[in-house]
Point group: C2
Chain length 422, copies 2
């Protein structure tokens, strides 16, 4: 999509990959310093060695320091697990939480709309998917009464043990308020639910009224009754933010208040796959330990970072504004993440035509859009949506000018679609 890699990250990675470059004058000293530190922590000073299954120690220390930043209570590297992207962490911890038997199957609460990794892993693990609906009328906010409804109904047919939160939301782009997070934590404490906080879009917040609050930080600020009891796993990744280094498959999870025996099982499970990619671990290190003021690379790094995030903010606003000009499309503010998830009106005749093709109506809509414009978006039914409502997910990643063209084409298509099936 034209987004360029952050130079500093790639410089450190290149130095780690081919340490002969440590003698090259073309690389800045702060990049060399970080590369040397990472290599010293690797077996044989090489990215090619297996690391410990939990990840390279000094990188886990950097992650812990990053999480601790501004918090009253420290985070220890022992609770940090480096992963093969966030997906790997999420599926691994779900595997641990779902197993263990018991009479009824384990319920895992997920938002609707959700990111389909969750439904796929729940299905793989033969657990029960427990839906709670985000409030579209209220900017996709999470309402704790809806969590209560969902958990009560679920108790009839399964044992709800896990509550998954995606903040900022994918595909819905909402950013949760501090109050909302407190309510969710209190609810998890009441119901003894294990909290999974998918926070991979933590650097992607665009609305001036919104701020990212990590579940970990809020949990600690709520006092020892919560911070010593609520079990929480949170996730981050190299794939999002302003780095966008998806291909390196870097990520981490922090797990707190996990029972020591279960922690032992988790480490055992992780060790079967040996270790996460060490190059992805190195990339994760740069995400949590970027150049700081006074360092040689700081200025260029800041410029590149601001450029990526500034552009994303501009595109988020542009997308929201343009969609809301189209009759029959309503788009909530894109407070964060990288997607629009507009609601689309699909006329009755189009619903009939879709049924004749044995397609979900939004799938039918998206296929028509693809055929007529070449634009590929994902139907809301792939993420889940309230019965009778239709949506699609579109990324806001294309460059501004291209995005404008895309949005204009979607607009024209939609107006035309409404006419054709009026």
């Amino acid at each position: 999509m034209g987004q360029q890699p952050i130079t500093f990250l790639r410089q450190v990675m290149a130095l780690c990959t081919y340490p002969n470059l440590l003698d090259s004058p073309s690389f800045p000293e702060d990049a060399k310093k970080r590369a040397r530190r990472i290599l010293q922590a690797c077996g044989g000073n090489s990215l090619g060695s297996y690391s410990a299954s939990q990840g390279v120690n000094c990188i886990r220390e950097d992650v812990a320091a990053y999480i601790t930043g501004g918090m009253r209570r420290a985070c220890g590297p022992d609770n940090i697990y480096l992963t093969t992207g966030a997906s790997d962490g999420i599926s691994t911890i779900l595997k641990i939480l779902v197993s263990g038997g018991g009479k009824s199957r384990t319920g895992v609460m997920i938002p609707i709309p959700q990111y389909p990794l969750y439904s796929a892993v729940i299905s793989e693990l033969d657990a029960i998917q427990v839906n709670y609906y985000l409030d579209e009328e209220n900017c996709w906010a999470l309402n704790v009464n809806e969590l209560r409804r969902a958990v009560q109904e679920a108790k009839d047919h399964c044992d709800p043990k896990v509550l998954c939160i995606i903040n900022p939301g994918n595909p819905t782009g909402q950013v949760q308020s501090r109050k909302c997070i407190e309510d969710v934590i209190h609810f998890a404490w009441e119901e003894k639910l294990f909290l999974l906080a998918d926070e991979v879009y933590q650097d992607n917040v665009y609305s001036p009224d919104c701020r990212f609050h990590s579940f970990k930080k809020v949990l600690y600020e709520m006092g020892p009754e919560y911070s010593s009891n609520v079990e929480l796993a949170s996730f981050h990744s190299t794939s999002k933010g302003y780095m966008g280094e998806c291909g390196y498959r870097g990520g981490y999870m922090e797990v707190i208040n996990l029972h020591p025996e279960i922690k032992g099982q988790l480490v055992k499970l992780l060790s079967v796959r040996l270790c996460p990619p060490v190059s992805g671990q190195a990339a994760m290190d740069i995400v949590v330990n970027p150049p700081v003021a006074g360092e040689e690379s700081f200025e260029q790094f800041s410029r590149e970072k601001e450029s990526v995030l500034g552009n994303l903010a501009k595109k988020a606003k542009l997308t929201e504004d343009l969609f809301n000009q189209v009759p029959g499309i309503h788009c909530n503010p894109l407070q964060g993440a990288m997607y629009a998830f507009p609601r689309i009106f699909i006329p009755a005749k189009a619903v009939e035509a879709a049924q004749a093709h044995q397609m979900a109506p939004d799938m039918f809509y998206c296929m028509k859009l693809l055929e007529e414009t070449g634009i590929c978006v994902v139907p809301g039914s792939g993420f889940g949506q309230r019965e009778g409502t239709y949506h699609f997910r579109m990324t806001i990643l294309p460059p501004v000018e291209k995005l404008k063209t895309v949005l204009q084409k979607v607009k024209d298509f939609h107006i035309n679609f409404l006419e054709n099936y009026a």
Copy 2:
């Protein structure tokens, strides 16, 4: 263990990581050519983009060409799946093969001794482990009569569907003869078993009397009755051979004769985790597509490769010879792979002492060795062994002089151990 990375591989990786280096005169042209080719096949010409879930297309083409080399029938890139190391491929294909229900649980045949990934994944998947014993008296050869015994006995309590082969063997180091592979393929055909051929040590063959034969090649040479019917998945990795790039988590599997519907499920399962690390995919490309005669880097590459493999061959012989000089240790020839798996005599008194400590006798032995010498080896009970026999696994990776010291220390320890528990 002091083994240095292959320069060419790291050069290509550094160029792919930080493409500014493509203008640097310090990198050879053949490395730049490969890096450009890989980058052109990556989204946005970047290792940081997600690839297709099955892997970067041109890398799968290179893998296919590597497999086809010297074979009558071509291999298509569609059957190639790039993986996060071989472990990921093995556990993914086992997941697909074990699921699907049926009245009785799925049996998976594995060699004893085995590499513990297999027992761990079988246990995770709630399948049945069906042991077949390698013939220690015959250099750990695989005997088809033993396969027949194992499958017949297993049919009483499960549905044997999969036969796993490790060649060259881990931990046992044997290299299978062509005749043996033919027998195994015929057996799999008779019993309609899905063959898994773990061939990650294919470049690690040291005995002058042995040659590596891939299951795929032998299968094709056995004619269409076999090559069109026997289902086979084979695995390779960047972690072994002379490259030893474990940390990059690169690997591939080739799957042939898989039913199209099951292939669809496999692709779906893989897509949940998005893609294997693209840096590991690039490393895999260099393993299957190294410099050839006439290319600028060929001479240095060949020198480095021969040095690693020559040293391993020397250390294999040294280890075998030294162990066989020790009373109460017998070591089969290390025909391939990277380990010795000697049989050790443990006196009755030591067995009693182990029982008093609630330890397996070989675990007791290994703990004593660790405590007295600082040398860490893995007890045979971690890999499986015939009742009443004891072994340990030791790598032959340390540099020659260090290895000599290690072996001498093990020898002294063992003689002392026999005396203490006589």
